[in-house]
């Protein structure tokens, strides 16, 4: 469905988007943001599920299962630690971030 040139355009635009979104971030958020982007590539879980769902032999099932296992760890772990870090940021005016 996503053919050659269309894919290259998607890569290009997504690349610019990532660059723009991050470009003016204050240093205080570097660690949470790294953790947040770490969570977002946890979308690999979707691919891991598809790979496992397409598995035909035992070996493929094993490798596919490892993929799901690792991807779920990435997604869940990335979310939990990012949330924990961001939860703590607050200003002295009492407003929660």
């Amino acid at each position: 469905m996503i053919e050659g040139w269309a894919a290259i355009y998607i890569f290009l635009l997504a690349g610019f988007t990532g660059y723009e979104v991050i470009s003016r971030v204050p240093v205080i958020l570097h660690t949470p943001l790294m953790s947040g982007s770490n969570f977002i590539h946890g979308i690999v879980l979707v691919g891991a599920m598809v790979a496992l769902g397409h598995a035909e032999t035992f070996t493929q099932q094993v490798v596919g299962f490892i993929a799901v296992l690792l991807a779920a760890g990435n997604a869940v772990g990335g979310y939990v630690v990012t949330e924990r870090m961001l939860e703590m940021f607050k200003s002295s005016k009492g407003g929660k971030g």
């Binding site: 979104v21 493929q60 690792l70 002295s92």
Partner: protein, 470 residues
């Protein structure tokens, strides 16, 4: 059904981008991670409905994998102390890279299986040359990120301390890389599943070899780079699986992560190239130890307390040493006391204070310090000449004035906090050692500097007691 799945993936991609944007401001950051989380749950749920998936057993494995992997990560993520956060991020990132590699492995093995059935069939014929190349490149990047991140995790966690595994490491790495590329090319027209295994085994080894020489201080840059690489690998495997959500989310993280890596490297005065391929501190040994003039002067906590109580402005420069001593709560209590006395208190954060840029902010936030009391290097440096007392707790290299003044210092050129320019500098230190880089600190020998020896938490408690008595 197909329509609904695609629409959900599209929505997830939008939520990720909006979420990431919100995460780049402290006011909206919390909402950002929530929105991204909604996107992730949506994308995961609709994937169960994908009509091309088959096999009841496969579905069972999926649910089991999510339950075990997710459950483990949930438990780990909830309980890890904030000080250990950098290695936790490295671990979770490595898992993502490994997943991308494993996806490619399944795709390649399936292709080999199908090629077997066709006379003269090959991987590139079954997948298409473009998809085969992208799958292999993604597999390479993801797998490097996997084993590299695991080494980074083990190093930061103190489980692995070696800086080289084989002699002539750089040449071995190069030879290994050439071999990997050769096997990768071979895979195009092969029907051997064994070759796939060999490819992944060698790439795993390469990741270990590349990361092992990276020094502790440089590790955050390496982790950030691996984060970007995992993103890229996910984007590439998204192309292989024809999945737009993966392509967009992966590529956004790939480019955002690359920019973040550059910002970190710049803040540490290191280039990404140097982090991966250069050793640090080699020139330090040749530096002349006699150039530092003057002597270290000691001060007691009572005198420090009095000095701070009558100051107009106190700037606290926290370092990793403070975090290790778990002193941040006491330090914040100390600040509140000083503020009651009418003293202006500010925190000065070096971009690489802690183990990772922004790590110190997280640790202070954990102790309840509001983020508008915390200042970046560029904001606080002009303030130091107007500061009565600069209290340096567990920081060393980031306040070394040699980085500005002494061209022979290995730190020369690194941006530092100008604590040396304050009227009085009090350095809280455990002992008379050098910092993380092993470089001597000229600040300790300055006329206006006094050293307060002791554990950060104990010193902070003593200061609090003395202040209460005043």
């Amino acid at each position: 059904m197909e329509m609904m799945i695609q629409a959900s993936y599209f929505l997830a991609a939008v939520l990720f981008i909006v979420g990431l944007k919100q995460m780049s401001s402290p006011v909206t950051a919390r909402r950002g991670i929530l929105w991204s989380g909604v996107g992730m749950i949506l994308a995961t749920l609709v994937t169960f409905l994908d009509p091309t998936l088959h096999g009841v057993f496969n579905y069972l494995l999926m649910a089991l994998g999510i339950a075990i992997g997710g459950g483990y990560a949930w438990q780990k993520g909830k309980t890890v102390p904030m000080v250990d956060m950098p290695q936790m991020i490295a671990l979770f990132n490595g898992m993502g890279g490994g997943a991308a590699g494993a996806i490619a492995a399944v795709v390649l093995m399936r292709a080999i299986g199908q090629a077997d059935a066709i006379p003269g069939g090959s991987v590139s014929m079954v997948l298409g040359t473009d998809v085969a190349i992208v799958a292999l490149v993604g597999a390479f990047i993801g797998t490097i990120s996997f084993s590299g991140s695991l080494i980074a995790w083990a190093k930061l966690d103190g489980r692995f301390k070696r800086t080289s595994l084989v002699p002539q490491q750089h040449w071995v790495n190069l030879a290994l890389l050439v071999l990997v590329i050769y096997i990768g090319v071979k895979l195009f027209d092969t029907q051997s599943a064994g070759l796939v295994m060999l490819f992944f085994a060698l790439v795993l080894l390469l990741g270990v070899f590349v990361t092992t020489p990276v020094g502790g201080a440089d590790m955050p840059v390496a982790i950030s780079l691996f984060n970007a690489l995992t993103g890229l690998a996910v984007g590439l495997e998204g192309y292989v699986l024809d999945n737009a959500a993966m392509i967009i989310a992966g590529t956004v993280v790939g480019s955002a992560g690359t920019l973040l890596t550059q910002m970190m490297a710049k803040a540490m005065n290191r280039s990404v190239w140097n982090v991966l391929f250069g050793g640090f501190g080699q020139s330090a040994e040749s530096a002349d130890p006699d150039v530092i003039q003057g002597s270290m002067k000691e001060i007691q906590s009572q005198d420090t307390a009095i000095m701070m109580a009558y100051a107009s402005q106190v700037v606290i420069v926290p370092g990793y040493g403070m975090a290790v001593a778990q002193a941040q709560h006491k330090v914040w209590e100390l600040c509140e006391l000083l503020e009651e006395e009418g003293v202006k208190v500010k925190f000065a954060i070096h971009p690489v204070a802690g183990r990772m840029p922004g790590h110190m902010n997280v640790l202070l936030a954990e102790a309840g310090v509001p983020y508008d009391k915390i200042f970046d290097m560029d904001e606080i440096n002009p303030e130091f000449p107007k500061t009565t007392v600069a209290l340096v707790i567990g920081a060393n290299d980031v306040v070394n004035p040699d980085a500005r003044n002494d061209k022979t210092s290995p730190l020369y050129g690194m941006p530092v906090l100008d604590a040396a320019l304050a009227e009085n500098v009090v350095v809280v230190k455990r002992g008379k050692g050098t910092g993380f880089s092993g470089v001597e600190n000229a600040l300790f020998y300055q006329e206006n500097t006094q050293l307060l020896y002791g554990d950060g938490q104990k010193i902070a408690s003593e200061l609090i007691q003395h202040l209460k008595k005043l």
